[in-house]
């Protein structure tokens, strides 16, 4: 089987493409940080439309800063004059669904650039009264000025990566999330650990915006493997079946334009095989309707939701996106394998990322956590509800003693019937 260096024709020789033009997007004039790009080999940065400025965000009609987001109408509402307005749809504004097959190199949006400072505290100047207000971006992206009570917001990129390009607002209410989680746990009561069952309170579910990257990929792929086709079968004198087959060496080369793979962008959550946290649960409530992502505005967070800060750069998230690209490449060849009724064994899979486009976003998750103390240390079990679709997944800690006892009981009960039969059959056969 050939596993030589991957050199599919095409992608590598294509000329560099400029990123698609911004649709209805203005330069990030209000961005507080310059985004210098001097190295010609550096990643290309496409400017995210202006987020409305940091500090006091006023209603365009009356100037009040008391703005909330109404999930039912998908509109911002001024708490003073009841003026309503809609958030900007990021995908349409930036053309993020276009030109994927033309991507070359790494392209990223304004807020997806590398984190420059790990400090969580950001100081905002209140232009209502002139005082300085500190926001802990590990927890939230807005605060109320303690002097003049204006709402202060962080809406544009900050060096610590806390402010994303886009956000997908919650549409599933807390009541719906509580009902989903309660139903999920109710189906798993029999073998749940007693500490979990007694402390379970669905009302403790939290609405959290978790940091992710949406990634478009322009990839070239090559798969090498072996396939088998059945010709005939026969049974020998010992009643064993034999299969006459034809064997083939398989190779597939192709290109794929991938639209919006989602990758977690915090170290805490990205490893779905973690020994200390059931991160795969959060991973499993994907996908989200990322085409409906809005330009980030901290008024989406309101008082109900918290947000987690991104702490991974693209270079650190790339391997996870690459893994998803490999998975998609493998799935893409399934329609070409119809003749191989005995199956295919792929022995080599290779993906060449010709171009990728990264956008930093916050995605809505209702999260319930329980820490189980095990012999190996604490393990955090999550129950998660997709804040858009309501998809629910969870990990319930098991009373292993009870589960083992029931399993042993079943084994003994079945053996009590089958072992005498086996002994009789053994004697009869001699």
């Amino acid at each position: 089987m050939s596993t030589e260096e991957f050199l599919p024709t095409g992608g590598a020789s294509e000329p560099a493409q400029t990123p698609p033009p911004l649709a209805a997007a203005e330069p990030a004039a209000a961005s507080p940080l310059p985004l210098p790009v001097t190295d010609p080999n550096a990643p290309q940065i496409i400017a995210t439309p202006d987020g409305g400025g940091d500090g006091v965000n006023r209603c365009a009609r009356c100037g009040a800063s008391d703005v909330t987001y109404n999930a039912a109408t998908a509109m911002f509402v001024c708490g003073f004059c009841r003026n309503q307005w809609q958030a900007m749809a990021l995908d349409a504004a930036m053309g993020l669904s276009e030109g994927i097959d033309k991507l070359h190199g790494t392209v990223m949006t304004t807020a997806a650039v590398d984190i420059e400072d790990q400090g969580a505290l950001v100081t905002l100047h209140c232009d209502g009264c002139g005082s300085d207000v500190v926001i802990d971006t590990n927890q939230n992206l807005r605060a109320r000025c303690h002097w003049c009570k204006h709402e202060l917001s962080l809406n544009n990129r900050v060096p610590n990566g806390a402010v994303p390009d886009g956000i997908l607002p919650f549409t599933v209410t807390k009541e719906q999330a509580m009902a989903n989680i309660a139903a999920f746990v109710a189906e798993r009561k029999s073998f749940a650990k007693a500490e979990f069952s007694t402390s379970f309170r669905p009302e403790n579910v939290m609405g959290v915006y978790l940091p992710h990257m949406t990634v478009d990929g322009n990839i070239a792929a090559r798969l090498d493997g072996v396939g088998e086709i059945l010709e005939s079968t026969y049974t020998d004198s010992d009643n064993d079946t034999h299969y006459r087959i034809r064997k083939f060496s398989l190779m597939r080369t192709f290109k794929v334009a991938i639209d919006d793979v989602v990758v977690a962008s915090s170290f805490d959550k990205v490893n779905i095989r973690s020994e200390i946290s059931t991160n795969n649960i959060i991973n499993a409530i994907l996908p989200f309707d990322v085409k409906n992502i809005a330009r980030f505005n901290s008024n989406f967070l309101g008082d109900t939701y918290t947000s987690e800060r991104r702490d991974m750069d693209i270079s650190q998230a790339e391997s996870y996106a690459g893994d998803h690209f490999l998975t998609i490449a493998r799935a893409s060849v399934a329609p070409t394998l119809g003749d191989y009724d005995r199956g295919v064994r792929w022995e080599a899979e290779q993906v060449q990322i010709v171009g990728s486009r990264w956008t930093s976003v916050l995605l809505p998750v209702w999260l319930y956590g329980f820490v189980e103390q095990t012999k190996k240390g604490p393990v955090t079990h999550y129950m998660a509800v997709n804040g858009r679709s309501g998809a629910t997944m969870g990990s319930v800690p098991i009373n292993t003693g009870k589960a083992a006892m029931v399993s042993w009981s079943v084994a003994i009960a079945v053996s009590a019937v089958t072992w005498p039969l086996a002994i009789i059959a053994l004697i009869a056969s001699r």
């Binding site: 097959d101 079946t241 299969y243 064994r345 060449q352 990322i353 098991i398 079945v414 053996s415």
Partner: protein
Amino acid sequence: MSSHSNGVGFVEVALFVAGPASGIFVYQSIQAKYRNRKARYMPERDVSRAVTDMAITDEFTGRATVENSSIAGRNEATPAVRAKFSKVTKD
């Protein structure tokens, strides 16, 4: 009974194994339902994609007679499980 003339047959072995196997099955079913360790994001199902320039090369390498009902190491239906050789490169 379907057995070899001078050894323990399939049926006898199956009857001996049935008890322990059913216990293991129950325990693993509880683990699967409660812990959901295999739950994951499925980009192969959920992410839209456009495939182009598909080149197919299938070379006949020979005939054989085997005892397995399907190819050893079959993995075309498990795209998230990495192949023996796996590589991602950037242009």
